[in-house]
Symmetry: C2
Subunit: 138 residues, 2 copies
DNA sequence: ATCATACTTGCAACACCGTTGCATTTATAA
DNA sequence: TTATAAATGCAACGGTGTTGCAAGTATGAT
C-alpha cells in the first residue's frame, strides 16, 4: 500500500500541514526537477518565504534534494533513496535540456569515477549534462 | 616571448584599460578560480558594476570562463585553450575544496564520457568534484 | 597634435532572491 | 479542552545581476 503524504511527512519528523502535503504531492508526481516559481504557481496564494522554509525543511529531512543545473535557478526533486536526516546519499547524473530548460534526475545512468590527482580527497561529485532531452527532438 | 596584457586584450577585441589589464594579470597569476569579491579586494576602489562588465566581456571574448561550483558564488578562471568569440571549447573537471573553499581547474584529469539514454543529446557536461584539496591535508 | 567617434567607467536605480525576526495561527499531545 | 511547540504570513534587510545614462577615455583619421 502507498504511504500517504501525512505518513511520509511524519516519518521524516515534519508536521503534516496542507501546504506541506501539497508540496510533497507535487514532487511525488513530478517527472522533472521543480524551481520555486513552478511550485508557487500551483497555489492560489502562497508566501514565497513559507515555500522557501518548506523546501529547506524538506531538504534537511531528506525528502528532496536541491539541484544546481548551472542556470542559477535552484531546482528541487524528490529523493527516491532513503536519505538520512541532513545527509543525502544518492549520487546521480542530472540532465539539463537547453531547449525546454527542464532538469531531470538520471538515476539509472552510470556514475563515472573521476580520477583525481594524488593528495586530493573526494567527498562527492556533481555532474550536469547539458543538451537536448528526449522530448525536444524534431 | 610573453604576450603582454595589452596585446592579449587587443587580440580578443577588447580595449586595454588599466582595470582590464590588472584584472587580466590577476587571472593570469591565479592558481585558483576567483570570485568577484576577491578581485574587488585587489583594487583600491573599483565599482562592482565595472568589474561585473569586465568579467562579462572577458567571458564573452573567451578570456575567462565562469565556474559554478555549487556554492552559489560564481568564480572565474582564465581560459588556457584558445576559446573562440563567445564559444568556449574547454571541458575539464573542477575541484571545490570543502575546507578552504577554493575552486580549481583540473585540466589534466581525464574527463569521463557519460552514457546518456537514447533520445538524449549531449551538448556539454559540467563536473564538480567536492572534497579536500592537496593543501588542506593534515 | 587635434579631434570626432566609439567604447569604457561610475553612479543611480530596479528587480529578484535568500534570509531572519516577530506576531499570529495551527498542530500535537497531555 | 487546553498548554505548548511548531508553522505560517508579513515586514524588512542585504547581496547581486542587470540596465540606463552621463562623464571620462582610448583610438584612428585628419
Ligand atoms: Mn536528482
Ligand atoms: Mn576551469
Ligand atoms: Zn527538453
Ligand atoms: Zn583546500
Amino acid at each position: 500500500m502507498e504511504s500517504t503524504a501525512k505518513d511520509t511527512l511524519r516519518n521524516h519528523g515534519l508536521r503534516p500541514t496542507p501546504i506541506r502535503e501539497k508540496v510533497w504531492e507535487l514532487f511525488n508526481n513530478a517527472s522533472k526537477a521543480l524551481p520555486n516559481k513552478e511550485l508557487e504557481m500551483q497555489f492560489e496564494n502562497i508566501d514565497r518565504i513559507t515555500l522557501y522554509r518548506t523546501l529547506k525543511a524538506f531538504e534537511e529531512k531528506g525528502l528532496i534534494h536541491k539541484i544546481d543545473d548551472g542556470t542559477g535557478v535552484p531546482k528541487y526533486a524528490s529523493c527516491h533513496d532513503d536519505c538520512a536526516d541532513g545527509h543525502h546519499q544518492h549520487e546521480h547524473v542530472h540532465f539539463h535540456c537547453l531547449n525546454c530548460l527542464s532538469t531531470t534526475c538520471l538515476e539509472d545512468v552510470q556514475f563515472p569515477k573521476i580520477d583525481i590527482p594524488p593528495g586530493y580527497l573526494t567527498e562527492n561529485t556533481s555532474i550536469v549534462v547539458n543538451g537536448r532531452c528526449a522530448n525536444c527532438q524534431n
